[in-house]
């Protein structure tokens, strides 16, 4: 009988030994994406594998997790777990997650599968392939976790179709499309490092703690099941950065530029998380500002101190973001509240207790700039004129968010930036988004901006209502509009036996 391999040997055989010498094909033809970005790799063998998992142990380990996870989903479903959530408003955060974030897991799977083929180093290829499988698992388990809610609440039914078409979902969709359309190294800095390592805690911790605080055991359990995967992904993100920086000094300015770009794009994307934390969770976890301070300013600050020895600096515009943490959640929820007729989930005015919580958490900005908006909204609602905006908003060409962010030294003035390229004018919400366009205008002239697409007649019509119902496939009067008077709210009251 053959001697049983020890773990180290098995690992080597199942990863590094999967590579071979090319005898009749030029390596450059085999890995055509490896050089065009300007990144210089001198020695792939210096790559340190971050996962240290072989496929057979990976399957075993993940299968155990799946068994536990699906047992809890079953129990959740059999016990009508949806009745235990804090308030039906909470479920709207899940609708946003399923339409906006879960499809990104699928895009991450596609992206990692691609770079998992294209890297010349076998260690990096294996790590990316493993992460690709993780991401595919995440999208599947998220869909399963939320399928129970689909039986009882509106807005979950067509998440994948909506992700491809709905105006605000072009924000997360285009974020990932941008990363996937980049070269393999930029993809890794964008998703592996900037998103998974630097910013992912700001997405997952608030969502999973939010679920726990609001009685949503299905989502909490998914979070636990994904946590050990996320830890591996973070290790991969950090390994990529260190590897690129150690391989060649010419890589440093390229990597810095990508960090600047993807940090900015990431924080713009996380605006939806900011708004979820401050406005959509009936039982709050912490404010967005507090989360930013803990997970970026403290954790990220020490990370960038570590990277300083390679010549990497804090991301450009980190100071702007530090000021914006006082504003973005309020500005984002106002965008959605005023476009509540065109959103695939419900919006609402914060309760008096919530307004007071916001004043307490944002003593320098909330009462001065944002409480008066909600007082106006309340007045209008009391008159039977719930405020829905009647025209379509100008969008940022880069992040595709309505241009509602303001100047940090003049918070009641919208921040307008523009560039003229080949005779056409392009508009941006910020210096960060303008810089990204100016560096690669030929990429962003292709932005599929939902408002312009509607005007061009590419989204059905002629009216916005037709676009919403036919092109987006929203069930009007059910998925959209205010929480007050919604079928979700009516059903909840019936279940709970309240008038």
């Amino acid at each position: 009988m053959a001697k049983k391999l020890n773990i180290k040997d098995k690992y080597r055989l199942l990863t590094r030994d999967l590579d071979w010498e090319f005898s009749y094909v030029d390596r450059k033809d085999a890995f055509p994406f490896e050089e065009f970005e300007g990144i210089k790799i001198t020695d792939w063998s210096k790559w340190e594998d971050p996962f240290r998992l072989t496929m057979d142990s990976y399957w075993k380990y993940q299968a155990e997790k799946e068994k536990k996870l699906y047992a809890i989903f079953d129990a959740f479903s059999q016990n009508n777990g949806h009745l235990n959530v804090s308030d039906p408003r909470y479920v709207n955060a899940l609708k946003l997650f399923l339409t906006g974030v879960s499809p990104l897991e699928y895009q991450a799977y596609q992206g990692f599968a691609h770079v998992g083929r294209q890297f010349g180093g076998v260690g990096a290829r294996v790590a990316c392939q493993m992460q690709a499988i993780d991401e595919l698992r995440h999208v599947q388990t998220q869909i399963h976790a939320m399928s129970h809610y689909n039986k009882f609440f509106d807005g979950f039914q067509d998440y994948s179709h909506m992700h491809d078409r709905v105006w605000y979902l072009s924000v997360p969709k285009s974020f990932f499309n941008d990363a996937r359309a980049a070269g393999p190294f930029e993809f890794m800095v964008a998703i592996g490092f900037s998103f998974e390592y630097v910013l992912t805690n700001l997405l997952f911790v608030p969502f999973m703690s939010g679920a726990a605080h609001n009685g949503d055991m299905a989502t909490v359990t998914f979070g636990f099941s994904a946590q050990s995967d996320e830890a591996r992904h973070m290790t991969l993100g950090l390994e990529v950065i260190k590897f690129l920086l150690e391989q060649h000094e010419d890589n440093v300015p390229i990597v810095q530029k990508w960090i600047d770009k993807w940090f900015w794009r990431g924080t713009r994307l996380l605006t939806i998380v900011a708004m979820m934390m401050d406005y959509m969770l009936p039982n709050k976890v912490m404010s967005w500002k507090e989360a930013w301070e803990v997970y970026f300013e403290e954790a990220g600050g020490s990370l960038f101190k570590d990277l300083a020895r390679y010549g990497i600096k804090m991301p450009k515009y980190a100071e702007t973001i530090e000021k914006e943490k006082e504003h973005v959640s309020h500005q984002a929820w106002w965008i959605f509240y005023t476009h509540g007729h065109a959103a695939g989930f419900h919006t609402w005015i914060p309760s008096d207790e919530e307004l007071d919580w916001l004043s307490e958490k944002y003593p320098d900005t909330f009462d001065k700039y944002y409480r008066p908006r909600w007082e106006l909204a309340k007045e209008m609602e009391a008159k039977g004129e719930r405020f829905y905006t009647k025209a379509l908003p100008q969008l940022c060409t880069t992040c595709q968010i309505p241009m509602g962010f303001t100047e940090m030294d003049d918070p009641t003035q919208v921040c307008y930036r523009d560039s003229v390229y080949n005779g056409d004018r392009y508009h941006f919400c910020s210096d960060g988004c303008k810089d990204i366009f100016d560096d690669e205008p030929e990429k962003y002239v292709q932005s599929w901006l939902p408002v312009h697409q509607i005007f061009q007649g590419n989204c059905g019509g002629p009216d916005v209502e037709n676009v919403l119902s036919d092109f987006y496939r929203m069930n009007l009067g059910e998925d959209n509009m205010d929480m007050k008077g919604s079928p979700d709210e009516k059903r909840w009251k019936q279940w709970k036996g309240v008038a």
């Binding site: 509602g404 003035q413 307008y416 990429k443």
Partner: protein, 120 residues
């Protein structure tokens, strides 16, 4: 380099070129320091439309929800066209006074401070 692409001389398709808007051009109109409207509005308009029609026929539908909109003294309103001071000619067409495709018009009403004087 206008793009870092693997394809040499890569050119992106300009999705928002004027020809794609069926004879219209896009014009954005924003009211400075009035954030009841979360962003400037985007309008697809014929380039030959007189400025007066923009003011009288297009803008009121959305802007009039603001309690201060009816109080605006348009003779005193100050305008910016693509960031530059601008005096609109009411009877001239948009295009003849330099309001082109994807131009941004901003107006300012310094005597009106917004709801609760909070820039809303």
């Amino acid at each position: 380099m206008p793009i870092h692409a693997i394809t040499p001389e890569y050119k992106g398709e300009v999705l928002d070129k004027l020809e794609n808007f069926n004879g219209n051009q896009v014009v954005y109109v924003g009211w400075d320091h009035h954030l009841m409207f979360c962003a400037a509005f985007a309008y697809p308009l014929p380039p030959e439309m007189p400025f007066r029609a923009l003011l009288d026929d297009v803008m009121p539908e959305a802007f009039s929800l603001h309690p201060e909109f009816s109080k605006i003294n348009w003779d005193k309103a100050e305008w910016l066209l693509d960031g530059q001071p601008f005096i609109p000619q009411l009877n001239a067409s948009l295009i003849d006074q330099g309001i082109g495709h994807k131009s941004l018009l901003r107006f300012q009403t310094p005597e009106l401070k917004g709801v609760q004087e909070a820039g809303i």
